[in-house]
Symmetry: C2
Subunit: 192 residues, 2 copies
């Protein structure tokens, strides 16, 4: 039950000792086995997580039943379905452990209590959400302006751990290409 991990999320720089003492003990350690779901499509996200170890993927399912990776998560990342968590609506995504994981979770009700009572906590939460928004927009613009190869190169540069640990097919849907194409792209890059 070592909470050191959480002290690196809610750091001294942003939170007073008292605030840390109010926030950190509210998180509950939870383990997921490989392939287990952190959240399933259709359910309301009643909690969110920080990942201490392991890899996680979120994905949406299109009309033909193909899944599209929407994000990958690893050490230190927050895993949350923002719309479902805050709008209290059924999620459209699945979030699944790709490996065994250790996470720290907080439920919605506790979140609300902290959010409305601790200014630093809500500033921090807002910053995190806006950070996710920013990343999503970058990805979205990249889908328009960049070719598949450049998108893959950027992913390699910015999230090398993902590229190393996640299967080609799952990365391909994240980049908006087929696994066939991504395999060819990898080949080209290897011979550059």
């Amino acid at each position: 039950m070592n909470q050191d991990f959480l002290y690196n999320i809610f750091t001294d720089k942003k939170f007073s000792k008292e605030e840390q003492a109010q926030i950190i003990p509210k998180f509950k350690r939870i383990e997921f086995s490989k392939n287990e779901f952190l959240l399933e499509e259709g359910k309301i996200a009643n909690r969110y997580f920080f990942i201490e170890s392991g890899f996680v993927r979120s994905y949406a399912t299109d009309l033909e039943g193909n899944d599209i990776s929407t994000n990958f998560y690893s050490f230190g990342d927050i895993v949350i379905d923002w719309p479902s968590f805050f709008l209290r609506t059924p999620t459209k995504e699945n979030i699944q452990a790709l490996t065994d994981c250790v996470c720290w979770q907080l439920d919605f009700e506790t979140f609300q209590q902290l959010f409305h009572s601790i200014e630093a906590f809500r500033e921090n939460g807002r910053t995190t959400l806006v950070g996710s928004y920013f990343e999503l927009k970058r990805h979205s613009i990249s889908m328009i302006t960049d070719h598949a190869k450049d998108r893959y190169k950027r992913l390699m540069r910015e999230k090398p751990l993902i590229v190393q640990h996640i299967s080609l097919k799952q990365i391909a849907t994240y980049l908006g290409v087929t696994d066939t194409s991504l395999s060819r792209i990898r080949k080209e890059i290897a011979s550059e």
Copy 2:
């Protein structure tokens, strides 16, 4: 200086009379002429707006200097660069009036004061931000799963005003196609 418009944004359902009285007078009416910028790349967004009338577009500029529409705004919409406004960083987008506009603006400092003092205001703000996130994700997934023609049809269905008032070129970059392609798509749809 008729504030009826703002009472439809901060409705009775979500805000008490007292809260409305604290919030609404803080907004300042402002007009923009066609082509005027509400925000320019490189600057920090120190305010945001609600549009009472007119059309607005936000766009990013890629490496070759082409602009990519990231969003369109009309009556009742909030116009804000979330990352720049909240992270206090220079924006990467331009936001420009496509027609003469009437807006209501709130500056960051005033926003902060309201955000931290009125619970309903911050719940509302959070909801709005998450709504934007959700829309962005839908658009992003649509870029991967749908063909250009379907993306255009959806835009026609969901934002008919945009399709009617915004130029083909600007819609094209939003949909991630060339103006040439969009012109052909329109032709096909017309003959269906």
